[in-house]
Symmetry: C2
Subunit: 356 residues, 2 copies
Amino acid sequence: MNVLTVDLGERSYPIMIGGKLTCSARYLAPYIKGEQVMVVSNETIAPLYLEKLLANIDVGTLDSLVLPDGEQYKTLDTLNTIFDALLERRHDRSTTLIALGGGVVGDITGFAAACYQRGVNFIQIPTTLLSQVDSSVGGKTAVNHPLGKNMIGAFHQPQCVLIDIDTLQTLPEREYRAGLAEVIKYGLITDLGFFVWLEEHMPRLLAREDKAVLYAVERSCHLKAKVVSEDERESGLRATLNLGHTFGHAIETHEGYGKWLHGEAVAAGMCMAAELSMRLGWISSADHARVVDLMKRAGLPTMPPDIAVEQFLRLMAVDKKALGGQVRLVLLEQLGKAVITADYGSDRLLATLSAS
Amino acid sequence: MNVLTVDLGERSYPIMIGGKLTCSARYLAPYIKGEQVMVVSNETIAPLYLEKLLANIDVGTLDSLVLPDGEQYKTLDTLNTIFDALLERRHDRSTTLIALGGGVVGDITGFAAACYQRGVNFIQIPTTLLSQVDSSVGGKTAVNHPLGKNMIGAFHQPQCVLIDIDTLQTLPEREYRAGLAEVIKYGLITDLGFFVWLEEHMPRLLAREDKAVLYAVERSCHLKAKVVSEDERESGLRATLNLGHTFGHAIETHEGYGKWLHGEAVAAGMCMAAELSMRLGWISSADHARVVDLMKRAGLPTMPPDIAVEQFLRLMAVDKKALGGQVRLVLLEQLGKAVITADYGSDRLLATLSAS
């Protein structure tokens, strides 16, 4: 097992990465402080891993809750079902919530942990590629609102993150590919060497070869942990992790949550960000083509669905990154280096939206 | 105007106390960072002070939202109406929420500020005695759940608190007296001199004489700020602020929110805590009588409603202060000194519940 650390002073925590980890409780025990645990999972993941996990946790009160599966359930209503369960089963302030599942389970369980009795302990066991390389690390938790994704949430760091790459073997192909979008993102925003490695190893990653998957997950977590350590509350640097996300969220909101997977929307969004960066003269058309090509090879969309330009703009404006009415975007200064800026020229943005 | 400081390092903030403050924007301006403000009030307070306040705030986007009045609306559903309004009116991360009203408005608006886009700025303008001396100071925010009060919430410190004691002149008598319960509490838990002052000045306080009210509010805020500065997240000392609250919450839950005012339930709860302390031999029967007598003179209940002992115990156990199933209580080691303990003997607790 490999261990990375998210360095946040007294709130620092480990990311433990390896295989066959969900079968072993010894990795979790030091991070469960009280005598109560509630494992939250979903109806897809629970039949695969829940019993194994529960059999290996030894506390006085051990409960579990299985949520319906899908982004459309990442709502205040579903959140409330977690509170109902915690209160009905008398969990107090010393309880630990464990999220076993993908990004939706992690985000909603983390938010429940942030709010239940004003904050209880929390452990992440992400089981999708997307959640392993992105949402489980960094303490962002949230639910959606009909008018925007992740609009209601909190920063709440977990006690630890346990990543078992074996769980990726049961992940549907489409979800696995969507996760690769975020992996590619790390190369684009901060590590050209990793981007080149991805260009070379994409066939092995698509075949889910252990060694390649382990390296990709570790490298992604390392890069994310580094950014989060430097800027926990997203005052600057951390915002570059949102490359493609302003476009992507607009796509998701337009289509209704759940139709496009998050990673798919972000993939198209990153291609749009690359195109706008090219129109600014920051990256070459060859660089732009490399971005689009790698997304295609990963089986990801490179264009948004058909959305009228005016509506696209409107959908982008409610994104959280809009500051005082002015939409700031994450763009590529060069391959491997992202910046956040409002200084791109609305004409170039319109041209990018029209071309897509 | 008098200014106290809640000392929390980089999250320190001022409590500004005086009269005629809601008419003047110059006190708030330094604490509004962006160009968007949403004032949240309720249908009782809004007709009295909302227009005056809005007329004195100068920002690009100035919105207001009027909630129904009452503890029964301190729910996730009402919280969601704040999110709806913020999103419909396109408030972004730089917005400031201002709570204009009592504890319910303050708690729910503060929680909305804690969660909206993972946290935005927040200002408290408490207009009831209870909220001025208690809930507006210290950063606790929450909504209720059918199975327990304040079960869902966050710690989220405001940018500033503005206390206009003139607003107390329009407060209904019953609510004013309920607020006095929390004022008396500070004397009981940490300041015998203040308790003696209250015994001497109760008639002036009941007559709402400016000078007496100002001193009582200031002293209460000072004592609360001191406790909060030393123990923001309630790991120990801060819990003593909950004197009477475990009993009180049980009463409120049993009666349904809104029938007993919070301060009334806490007043009866403090008398019960004093009685249990007497049964432990920690305070004399004369001290116990002083507590009960001062509550009576403030027009507050000194006994709970008729609740079967077993049910009372059940209602107490879901209180947040229950740790691992064992109910800890705040009791009086002496008048002016509270402690939190589970070491009171269940027989004495049963005797106290039976006697009440």
